[in-house]
């Protein structure tokens, strides 16, 4: 939702980043205000996931130019764990499995770590159990998931629900959902989307990175951005996603050759 009195949460200017010496992000500009929902779409290899990982601080990506301010502070001054504590959350496209560590143990550890850093109350195992079960209802998750090892043997949909559960626990200001819809059947997509919608409020913002318009029927974006070759080349409202669904991506790039040329010169 767009609010008149909203604060700028994220301000990305001219961001360039490389992985193994190959430039993936090539001068990206992007602004997010509190309360907003943004969708970043684009073909494979356009740099969407790279952008998400750069924001979260993955060490494999080297930022070579540009700036990112998060709530007015330089995001690159913060280590990945500090960004998480400051309120940046990335829901992974491929969440890792941790056999041997109970999900409940892991969730409580991350919750308490972040709470402590924010100077807020930590929960003992019993208190946490009540708390997390409440949050799990949001995602229609069975309490069985607490006793199982983190993501081990979870289906694609179950892993994604577990990601959104972590979002619910860590209460981020900026949640970046990297292809959270991939691998979800229609029921799981509905449940995950409902969970995200309930977590969205006027103080936080959500960035959806996705290939498909389908997700946007459930989580309605205020802005849709098209990414191509490491830059955002078009921004529109939710109707842009529908255009992309019917016409593909090629017309967007063809429509703006001049802008592309300017960016290369710059």
């Amino acid at each position: 939702m767009i609010y008149n009195d909203s604060k700028t949460l994220l301000e990305v200017r001219g961001l360039r980043a490389t992985v193994n010496g190959v430039e993936i992000l090539k001068g990206l500009d992007f602004t997010v205000k509190s309360g907003e929902v943004h969708a970043i779409m684009g073909p494979n290899g356009s740099g969407k996931s790279t952008f998400a990982k750069v924001l979260a601080g993955h060490s494999a990506y080297e930022v070579t130019a540009g700036s990112v301010l998060f709530e007015g502070k330089n995001l690159f001054d913060l280590a990945p764990e500090e960004r998480a504590r400051a309120g940046v959350f990335l829901a992974f496209q491929y969440p890792i499995e941790i056999p041997g560590v109970a999900n409940s143990q892991f969730l409580r550890l991350t919750y308490n770590t972040v709470q402590a850093q924010r100077g807020q109350e930590e929960l003992d195992p019993l208190e946490f159990d009540d708390f997390v079960r409440e949050k799990m209802k949001l995602l229609e998750m069975s309490p069985d998931f607490l006793g199982r090892s983190v993501n081990e043997g979870f289906s694609g949909g179950e892993k994604k629900r577990n990601e959104i559960l972590q979002m619910a626990l860590l209460d981020p200001r900026l949640a970046i959902l990297d292809e959270t819809d991939s691998g979800l059947d229609i029921d799981a997509l509905r449940i995950v989307s409902q969970g995200v919608n309930q977590l969205a409020n006027r103080h936080n913002a959500i960035v959806l990175v996705t290939h498909y318009q389908r997700l946007l029927n459930y989580i309605v974006p205020d802005f849709v951005h098209v990414m191509e070759a490491g830059r955002i080349i078009k921004t529109g409202d939710k109707s842009l996603a529908l255009d992309l669904e019917t016409r593909g991506y090629d017309w967007v790039a063809a429509e703006r050759p001049a802008a592309a040329a300017v960016a290369v010169v710059a």
Binding site: G57, S59, E81, A84, P95, P99, G100, V114, Q117
Partner: protein
Amino acid sequence: MSTVRSIRRPAAGYLETLMEGQPQLRASSRAWINALRAEAVRHLDTLTLPTLHDEAWRFTDISPLTRLWVRPVRSVSDLHAADIAQFHLEDATTRLIFVDGVYAPQLSSTITDDGVMVANLSSADAAQAAAIKPDLGRHAAFSDNVFAALNTAFLQDVALIVVPRNMTLAAPVHLLFIATQADVASHPRCLLVAESGSHMTLIEDYVALQDGAYFVNPVTEIALADRAHVKHIRVQRDSVKAFHIADCAVSLGRSSNYQSVTVALGAKISRYNLNVLLAEGAECAVDGLALIAGSQLADTHTSIDHAQPHGISRQLHKCIVGGSAHAVFNGKVMVRPGAQRTDSNQSSRNLLLTGKAQVDTKPQLEIFADDVKCAHGATIGQLDDDEVFYLKSRGLSDSVARSLLTYAFGAEIIDRIPVASLKRRLELRILEQTGSLP
């Protein structure tokens, strides 16, 4: 300048040092025990301590042992229940406790009824002793194994477990070997006879109440008759200055089932030889974890011998190596001619935590039958950057993220331990050792 790596030979005469006190052992009242000892002594005349020249010991230099001036245990430490409460496992109601290799009846809790025997050999009656005679010393070969021969030469008492036909022992049996004295050698001996159709769980646990150097040289024999089921958990948590060299021989009868989980945490140098021999349709799962740091060395040699058809074996061996420690794994799976329809899977996975940590792993498959399904593999690596990043993106510091992943790597093995109290104890120990979760 080039350096020549010299191979240290064990000090000449060290075997004689280890044999000190053997000739003075009190003769057993059972002639066949004396004969077994004498046979071992005869073999020792021709055996020598291994060096790096011996293929089976090429990564494990035991010369530090030869600089430890050990003597036989002379005095018995007087321990009370409170002294060893920390090792107590609630779900193991039967326990045999050996202090520096000597049976401690006041601390133990035995069973000798309904044909079940969980006791030491010395307290067995003539019939009970006669019943185990065909097994004792017959599974763990000592003609070509100097350490098994030493153990047998010193054979005095035995932790003895006999489970009669079709009987199920509901509670696990805890064999606890406590080291209380430095500079001593002990030779624990265990024998488990699981008669046909019987079920039981055995915990073999080596611990220390001091942090000195000592030598412990156990031999365990496990005989499963047809359709017997045995779960065997072996925990080696000796002092980090100790030397632990152990042999375990397991014979599986037809359609029997053996599952073992071995955990090596302690000792300066440890070696575990596990030999499993499978008859037709027998099944085994042999899993292991070595978690070492500092300058520890942990060597595990296993041999799974499919001698007959339709056998199944599964093995997952993991090493977590920190500091400048060194882990060795040699896992041989043999499929003999005629052992058709063997189904075997072996995996060695290793985690190196520092640049100085070292692993030598050698999974080995030798197949002499043509209709089999066998797979093996080995991985050696460091923590995965993407996994560390995932945890950091959830607010965990780099060190907590790494500890948690290290813990998880080991916990996969600990999870397979079927005794809740022991599992919990080891989880805490490993958490502590990997400096992880609160």
